[in-house]
Symmetry: C2
Subunit: 334 residues, 2 copies
């Protein structure tokens, strides 16, 4: 990693503009309180020299970094098989970019990584952190708390009831689930099942709760545990069909799960939606639109979630939990 050509310093700019370093600095940082002609001269010098501020020097004195960390704590490959993560990232990136902040990505896949991330955050490299995919037993939150870095969580953390001052952005998982199940019931379905997500994540728990809100009396036979993956959806659907052959509707915890379920239904000769209606969650376009039949699902605006997280962090918002609404998107599967 060789070093690049020496870049001009503020000193050089000041010299060229015939002003002091202090004045040059003022201009570079907005130019408030500097008379117009000087501003002009400094601007020109900056231009001519191709001056770019040295961020390290600046951070050293301001103690700000204009950078935030995005921590994705996901041991499994799941994150990478599903566009969810990428979409949120994009929302975050847009918002940060708009505020001239950089995005430092911290991917973790194990206990060792946690320590590393904790150290990094504690190291004061960034002005804040955006944290995702927490599982109920995740040690990361504590590390982060200790690091004392302003943090916004993506998805309600399991240990937060939404009132403890923890800032997070979440979808209305429970409400969305309710709407989906109500839709199924409204279709006249009487044996509505639910394939859950990974129950160590609050989104899965909340969706299950939403299901139960509507179908409090649903027998345990009708609830089977999945894990947010297509394979999990297949497995769960098989089990469901075995223990309850007359099931006539399935609310799957996400689109990937629903896709797996659809495959098994087809394989077993059940028609969708005629024999069994299916609803997913997420409205992950590349999945939901491409299944056969296209998937009715609960839409959440994932990119907006990312954007909002970044916004809350940058604003230093003290609001506890923000819950974004969901909407039911009707396609052919239910």
């Amino acid at each position: 990693m060789t070093e690049t050509a020496p870049r001009p310093t503020l000193e050089a700019v000041a010299a060229r503009a015939g002003v002091s370093r202090a004045t040059a600095s003022r201009v570079v940082n907005g130019g408030d309180g500097v008379r117009e002609p000087l501003v002009e001269r400094v601007r020109r010098a900056v231009e001519e020299l191709g001056y770019v501020p040295n961020q390290a020097a600046r951070s050293l004195v301001t103690r700000r970094h204009d950078a935030i960390a995005v921590v994705v704590a996901e041991p499994e490959t799941r994150v990478f098989a599903d566009p969810f993560f990428a979409l949120q990232l994009r929302g975050i990136s847009k918002e940060l970019t708009a505020h001239d902040n950089q995005l430092v990505l911290l991917l973790t896949e194990g206990r060792d990584d946690h320590a590393r991330v904790g150290r990094y955050l504690a190291g004061g490299h960034v002005d804040g952190a955006l944290v995702f995919s927490l599982h109920l037993d995740d040690p990361l939150p504590e590390l982060i708390q200790r690091a004392g870095v302003p943090t916004v969580f993506g998805g309600r953390p399991g240990w937060s009831d939404g009132t403890s001052g923890v800032v997070y952005v979440d979808s209305d998982n429970r409400g969305g689930a309710r709407e989906a199940v109500r839709h199924l019931v409204g279709l006249g379905r009487t044996r509505v099942a639910h394939i859950t997500g990974a129950l160590d994540q609050t989104s899965a728990v909340d969706r299950l709760d939403g299901f139960r809100d509507v179908l409090a009396d649903a027998g345990p036979r009708l609830v089977v545990e999945g894990d947010f993956t297509p394979a999990g959806g297949e497995r769960a659907m098989r089990e469901l069909l075995d223990r309850c052959p007359d099931v006539d509707a399935v609310f799957a915890a996400n689109d990937l799960t629903a896709a797996g379920a659809l495959r098994v239904l087809r394989e077993r000769g059940r028609r969708v939606p005629d024999d069994v209606a299916v609803i997913g969650f997420d409205d992950m376009l590349p999945v939901a639109e491409q299944t056969d039949p296209p998937l009715t699902t609960v839409r959440q605006d994932i990119e907006e979630m990312g954007r909002l997280m970044a916004r809350l962090l940058l604003r230093g918002s003290a609001s506890a939990g923000v819950v974004l609404p969901t909407t039911l998107v009707r396609r052919a599967s239910a």
Copy 2:
């Protein structure tokens, strides 16, 4: 963004350990040439104080940042609908982590963003850059060249013939395509078609070249342009079926395209592989394993590509182009 509690400085550590700042610094940076008892004392002081080096101060003098930028220049949503990007990112992240480097993610989606990225790289915030998804007419390479930052490209840049000193990592797209097409021919197929990728990317061009290597005489009717998306695959497959109804094999430029093609084939009542054999490219598990039938495809080790890119960058390698081998993965579709 409120500031966190003041962190201890090297000065504090030195004082507590009863040594000079210089010695403390030496210990913190590996401890070479410092006598054991002192090392021990400094270590303890670091521990007790919870000292973490101030990276800004360090960078200011070393001119190193232990950070590299990952630039993803992809205007379209495509990157986000396909796990390719995420997988490479993971490979990169692993390698960087192993070398204590941070990953700064720069997502761009337009000309404005290019300027911003150029400025950032020129600003000397990072020690190097990893650049992806270049299109043939992309202005980014020039900006990056001018920024004078060591760079490794993901995928062969269009303006490079592999000898110009540009460092890149690529899959053997051409060889992989050849193997796929040969397999199809070996199956006894006589009207083998190709649905290309977005031809403004070298990977698409190279795969097309590989196809032609084997089937130099394939009529233009048998080559139809796609864009690496399922929708493009569908459109292309329809066109193919219209202008050449007796096609009996399709080599699609990637798995997503193949998935689209499969859907159209099913819709038109063609059996796969009996009537039409289909091969994809990438071996993107969540796609290739979940299609119906499961997809025969050309596998490339995407994560390894990412890892290798990072390795080359960190090592300051001067090697021009590195091309990773591909392997044909046989499933049910061909």
